[in-house]
């Protein structure tokens, strides 16, 4: 079963001092430690035979839509709420929803400022599959 693990800029549980400081306020070493951790998560998942894909996204993005016959695309942005932005994703292929949640929790434990876990919310979405043959 494949799951999309979506990383937003949503931070951790509300009202607590987790991962609220923007990255530019971290030390360079803390940023490196964070990036290295993300790479390690991917490596560990690959080693378990569960890693499918992963990508970090630029925060710069635009909403685009059809502008009507013969007209250029209509654009909108920047996005209103930073917390709704998607920072990146990872796709895993695992044996159970429980394993998908474990992988997401692992991702969410990435170190932030002070080297402490971010406790960041990760959105977990199952892929729609092929229909089974025997109904």
């Amino acid at each position: 079963m494949k799951y999309l693990l979506l990383k937003h800029y949503r931070g951790g549980p509300e009202g607590q001092d987790y991962g609220t400081a923007p990255m530019e306020e971290w030390t360079p070493e803390e940023i490196s430690a964070h990036i290295a951790f993300m790479r390690k998560v991917a490596d560990d998942l690959r080693e378990r035979g569960e890693y499918v894909d992963g990508q970090a996204l630029s925060p710069e993005g635009t909403f685009v839509r059809y502008g009507g016959e013969g007209r250029p695309p209509v654009t909108d942005g920047p996005f209103a709420e930073t917390k709704d932005l998607i920072a990146g994703w990872m796709v895993v292929d695992v044996d159970s929803e429980e394993r998908a949640h474990e992988a997401a929790a692992y991702l969410s434990s990435a170190p932030g400022k002070g080297g402490k876990p971010l406790y960041e919310w990760i959105e977990v979405r199952p892929f729609l599959t092929e229909p089974s043959v025997v109904e």
């Binding site: 494949k2 690959r46 378990r48 035979g49 729609l128 092929e130 229909p131 025997v134 109904e135």
Partner: protein
């Protein structure tokens, strides 16, 4: 096909005392070399070739295994006990195939790992092909297979293992669904492996039952999706597209299995599939017999949730929609596809508004994209009818 010898060759190496994981790599290398020399179809072409080719594969695989061991550790090589046995006879070949299949389908493995390992070690597919079939990167699939090999390397396998576990893995492989893209066809692979298994355990009617079940479903494959790639449910399929030769083969296998009078869940499921295949139109479906088989199936496999829902549908056809709905009410409403079954029976009862509502709810809960689209269209069709005065 050359790769159909993979399991037999691996069996010989393991019987000679080779470590399973290393031997599996060696067989894979030997297959690659054989395909490079003669192409992949060589076994089909020439009646004399299989024996020669198998012997050739054993020699090459064994040499590759020894080379790898030598490279890994000179000391380890001395520990391998090489028994110089005479060439194996048919009985040993059958044991070899079963030995390797039961190792690949060991209950200690998760289904996904067992399927991947079986496709490589017995199906003779490359890691790259298996990775494409499951839409994961090759490095990930390589890890999944090597972890699976490590898991089962520690297990004891003196006696051929549990056929039940092998049947389960092949069933799940088949049920993964048809691959839409190019590459490996998992259903066809599962059938190929089920044929091999049925040949080595001719006295097991459930192995034959599983093969029959697969053939009786596979025969409908051309009708299962329309030109636009959308799922077509059984009652709306163009039955002229069904593969009648495959149905006849499946029915024959099933009848021989049933004559042994050792009923099991795969035979029961195959019997239900055969009854559907036997109907020239959906309206001619023999629902009373299908209902009897569902009752039988639920005795054999009491926890089969899909069968419980399908039984309620069968009750709806035999005793009327409301009897079907009553049968459904006895079941857990949280079951996957419960709403889809309820929607079907509500429509059968003429309650179109409620049916539309249930179809929409079923679409929300669908785990497959094609099913979701189909259920949404069912709801839309009913809503359109309701809006038309």
């Amino acid at each position: 096909m050359i790769r159909e010898l993979a399991g037999q060759v691996l069996g010989v190496l393991v019987r000679r005392g080779a470590d399973f994981a290393a031997a599996e790599d060696a067989v894979q290398d030997a297959l690659v070399e054989a395909v490079r020399r003669w192409g992949s179809g060589v076994v089909d072409d020439d009646g004399d070739r299989p024996d020669d080719l198998k012997a050739w594969l054993v020699t090459v695989a064994w040499r590759k295994f020894l080379d790898a061991r030598r490279a890994a550790s000179a000391r380890a090589l001395r520990e391998v006990k090489v028994s110089l046995e005479p060439p194996s006879g048919p009985a040993e070949q059958a044991d070899d195939t079963l030995l390797i299949l039961s190792r690949c389908c060991h209950p200690a493995l998760t289904p996904a790992s067992a399927i991947a390992l079986t496709l490589r070690a017995v199906g003779g597919l490359t890691t790259a092909q298996i990775a494409r079939a499951f839409l994961v990167p090759e490095a990930t699939m390589a890890q999944r297979i090597s972890r699976a090999k490590r898991t089962v390397s520690g297990e004891r396998f003196e006696a051929p293992g549990d056929v039940t576990a092998v049947l389960r893995v092949l069933y799940l492989m088949f049920n993964e669904g048809f691959m839409t893209g190019p590459g490996v066809d998992l259903a066809a692979e599962a059938i190929r492996l089920a044929r091999q298994l049925a040949a080595v355990v001719p006295d097991d009617p459930e192995a034959a039952g599983l093969l029959a079940l697969m053939l009786l479903h596979h025969a409908r494959r051309a009708a299962r999706f329309d030109a636009g790639g959308e799922l077509v449910p059984l009652d709306r399929q163009d039955r002229s597209l069904w593969d009648t030769a495959m149905i006849a083969e499946g029915v024959g296998i099933l009848q021989r299995a049933l004559s042994r009078d050792l009923l099991g869940e795969y035979q029961a499921q195959a019997a239900i599939a055969a009854l559907h295949d036997d109907a020239a139109t959906a309206a001619e479906t023999d629902w009373p017999q299908i209902l009897e088989w569902y009752d039988e199936l639920l005795v054999l496999a009491p926890g089969n949730r899909v069968a419980e829902l399908n039984r309620a549908i069968a009750v709806g056809h035999v005793d009327g929609a409301y009897a079907g709905l009553r049968a459904l009410e006895a079941l857990d409403a949280g079951l996957p596809r419960y709403d889809a079954a309820a929607a079907y029976l509500r429509e059968l009862a003429g309650e179109r508004a409620e049916a539309a509502r249930r179809y929409a709810a079923a679409a929300e809960a669908a785990v497959s994209g094609a099913e979701r689209t189909h259920l949404l269209k069912q709801a839309a069709r009913l809503n359109e009818d309701l809006a038309t005065p």
